[in-house]
Assembly symmetry: D4
Homo-oligomer: 156 residues x 8
Amino acid sequence: MTLKVYLSGEIHTDWREQITEGAKGLDVSFDSPVTNHEASDDCGVAILGAEASKYWHDHKGAMVNAIRTRRGIEGADVVVVRFGEKYKQWNAAFDAGYAAALGKSLIVLHGPDHQHALKEVDAAALAVAEEPKQVVEILRYVLTGELPEGALAAAE
Amino acid sequence: MTLKVYLSGEIHTDWREQITEGAKGLDVSFDSPVTNHEASDDCGVAILGAEASKYWHDHKGAMVNAIRTRRGIEGADVVVVRFGEKYKQWNAAFDAGYAAALGKSLIVLHGPDHQHALKEVDAAALAVAEEPKQVVEILRYVLTGELPEGALAAAE
Amino acid sequence: MTLKVYLSGEIHTDWREQITEGAKGLDVSFDSPVTNHEASDDCGVAILGAEASKYWHDHKGAMVNAIRTRRGIEGADVVVVRFGEKYKQWNAAFDAGYAAALGKSLIVLHGPDHQHALKEVDAAALAVAEEPKQVVEILRYVLTGELPEGALAAAE
Amino acid sequence: MTLKVYLSGEIHTDWREQITEGAKGLDVSFDSPVTNHEASDDCGVAILGAEASKYWHDHKGAMVNAIRTRRGIEGADVVVVRFGEKYKQWNAAFDAGYAAALGKSLIVLHGPDHQHALKEVDAAALAVAEEPKQVVEILRYVLTGELPEGALAAAE
Amino acid sequence: MTLKVYLSGEIHTDWREQITEGAKGLDVSFDSPVTNHEASDDCGVAILGAEASKYWHDHKGAMVNAIRTRRGIEGADVVVVRFGEKYKQWNAAFDAGYAAALGKSLIVLHGPDHQHALKEVDAAALAVAEEPKQVVEILRYVLTGELPEGALAAAE
Amino acid sequence: MTLKVYLSGEIHTDWREQITEGAKGLDVSFDSPVTNHEASDDCGVAILGAEASKYWHDHKGAMVNAIRTRRGIEGADVVVVRFGEKYKQWNAAFDAGYAAALGKSLIVLHGPDHQHALKEVDAAALAVAEEPKQVVEILRYVLTGELPEGALAAAE
Amino acid sequence: MTLKVYLSGEIHTDWREQITEGAKGLDVSFDSPVTNHEASDDCGVAILGAEASKYWHDHKGAMVNAIRTRRGIEGADVVVVRFGEKYKQWNAAFDAGYAAALGKSLIVLHGPDHQHALKEVDAAALAVAEEPKQVVEILRYVLTGELPEGALAAAE
Amino acid sequence: MTLKVYLSGEIHTDWREQITEGAKGLDVSFDSPVTNHEASDDCGVAILGAEASKYWHDHKGAMVNAIRTRRGIEGADVVVVRFGEKYKQWNAAFDAGYAAALGKSLIVLHGPDHQHALKEVDAAALAVAEEPKQVVEILRYVLTGELPEGALAAAE
């Protein structure tokens, strides 16, 4: 049965491509939010009409994006949440909390600098990785039982 | 994964056709109540036997229709509820409440005249549209991330 | 154990008072939406700040009211929904759908004129009454097993 | 029935005191995380034994805190999440997502500077406030139907 | 915490009295359907108006009784279902299935003659008893750990 | 999407064949219990070893059958429960209760003689039919909106 | 609100007494299985009648005990599972899995020798303790935010 | 519809192969944990980095394995748990508890020596088998209604 993976969070680096590319050949399907920043910000007003207030402009867009996001998380077996180096990224942490409450298997992906600030998020995860490659290795192991070559030897 | 959309509400205009036609080419499946008014009203007695009382006549039909309606809503990712210009349309509002309680993504479709009367229903929705075309644009955006041509420019 | 009853719908007649008055002495607690029409319409902007657009004015109020409404319905054993003679009352039908989806015991209260238009709502109910007094009699029967004096004789 | 409110997020200002003080006399009970920063960081190792690695030191503490946090959110009718001026506050956004997925009534509390960054979180809320006083007013309205004096007049 | 027990099924013998009497002094609360046969049959029409057809007469009553029955089962920790010597008692078996699907602890009470016919019902139960006294002994053991005097010796 | 229908109850007449035959050409899949009476009674001991006591003989079989039955009901959109002329058929009523508690659309099928005894079961159903042919007509209507030829005219 | 704690597992040492004694003064209620080994083994036959086969003797008792155990776990906020030095203790691990699937906060209590064998159970826990005293300290911290005297200093 | 079966527990004998081989031709899909002992123990550190402490080494692996295990159990119709002759096998009992709490159909497979120690686990099962062949026979019966040749005769 295809493993359904939702890739949430940071949209400024190519981590999603690294994972989907790395997972070629595995029985995995990927879903993610709309990662075109401008479209994501403006989709609400672009479709449903302009707003004078920036707040409602943003609100309308966030609501439309939620149609995709909630379905993506609710339909997933595994939710990967990536925190990048910059920005507040509260939507990423929100998605992690949403996924955790639904009992999804959560993988958090972030660099060592964020370790303390993300400790509550990490505590809800089944794996905390630093590199997209590690996520691929987890997906491969979960589906096939195979570990990266040489990994077992190195682990001892 | 196919997006499952349930089209609830008004049955006197061609809004469902506009949406299904507009969504051609997208990975969407549509479901809806039986929209033949006469069949919908009389299905209960037509199949299960006549009733002397109008109340039970109606009741039997509403129950049989509920088999289809509940399945349609429960199986949907997105529930679109259309309020037309006329009639009480309490079944439409009932469906919206039913969908909201199940956590479905709700899109409400109605003209500006109904805005105040529908404020509680709109408050449960992720999008409130005036035209079927906007629903199509939302479905396209949710599935592909694409916005209508020129929309982003117009939004600024 | 106290029976928790939520009284949803029409706010222009004294049906809630009739029921709460009639149920004196029974182990019932009642909850309801805010029935002060003006406060209910304006609570959002009154607390959270004015809105230039009527739509968002209404929206903010509907969202704040939803905090009370959802809690009331979700915590209830029995949800009574009253449809009056006038207005669209889509929020009443929405509440009925919401309650039905949560599996609450639903009692619908309306005059005979609305029978056909409400058939889908009635079909989700365990009782359809015309008078507040009947709702009281149902609550008394459910809690104590007692029927109105003379009712059994009359029923035969 | 007592309204159960969980106060999540920022721990460096007295917003919780403002709300609990302001809500005196209302039928509300409040719960919150442990707000002693040092105890919260070190509870895991203080009770269960020291860790050589900072990561596991943090992890143990976050897990112990989760016993309190999850119970607080799961038992709440209303979850208020406060975002302060400083820090990443990913745990606050995580709690908001967790609460949203459980269908809790969410109130978000933050200054106007964070409006764009919090748009996805705000979109899941039933109210977005800037001041603790507004949260008190919402709680009072939800419980009693009363609005702040003069608020209705000002709203028009 | 008080153990909530719902006593479903046969209404022609005093088994409920035997159990409630025997459980005196234990921290148990009992609930049951309305056991006045006539009231139970006629409650619908007595309150909501006469029906020309026997089917709808029965239907209205069954619906009103369901308000009490569902609440009783849904609120119970333990559901005891008694099958007597006579009648079809399909409502008893229906309640047993309803309770089983909700994951309630089910105790079935019937004489040896019904053993084969009730095998599917018994298979969903945590205990199958022949006498009301045994149900009391189970409740006492579940709450206090005490067994009937001499029972351990006899069991060996 | 294929409509999944579970056919529960009586095993001594060909009602299942009538329905599956009549539904040819519709997008329906049918499931049912093992209807070979002898296999159904003895499957437990035949596979897992003989029992000295008739009670445990029956119990083992009922448990093994429950693997099939529960999956059938839980996976169904519609559960049809047939009560025949003879026997206690408590397993049929149990299945009906089980299906009702899970919110399945329930169709009950029985002759007029059982009407009073089945009133609680009928009250949980969306349709009560007397003939297998009516069940087929409901399935056809639910899937296609088509009523039997001449039925509308006859209904008026 | 009282914290409900279920104490599962080993019955041959006084760890339950140590915890309940240590938690005196805290707003905690404790529940546990029947810890009288003989009564627990024989309760089924003692109440419901002797069995010739040891398997069914055990089975009847395990079923009756499940009435208490399931209620205890399902009603708990925190489930503590203790693994002692001896015996298979599969029921303890079963309870841990049961609690984990229900999303309960799980605390596992065992000596260092069992660390590898219990790694899957520990991985589902929010805390893994070696001494009953640590469980008391966790309960106190969760309820009051207080850590053992000197613990913070020692943790640095 | 394919029957989804998860095979949990003992990894030192070929019982899984016996079952999958025996079930050839049936509409069953099998899933199981990673049964390579070394990979299963070390997967966490092999992918996510070495740990100085044995406890965290084990913990990281157990968490990664949980991604596969939970999905396997949650997606299954039937969970088979095998207890072998040796080792603590607490993960097997944990899986059984997890499956039971989710309402999965549970089949336990173990030799007669473990009967008393596994009585609580067996009490949650719909079948308790001693040989893999019996599991195959159950799967065949559940899917096709067929019993092993000669079994019915032998059962009498």
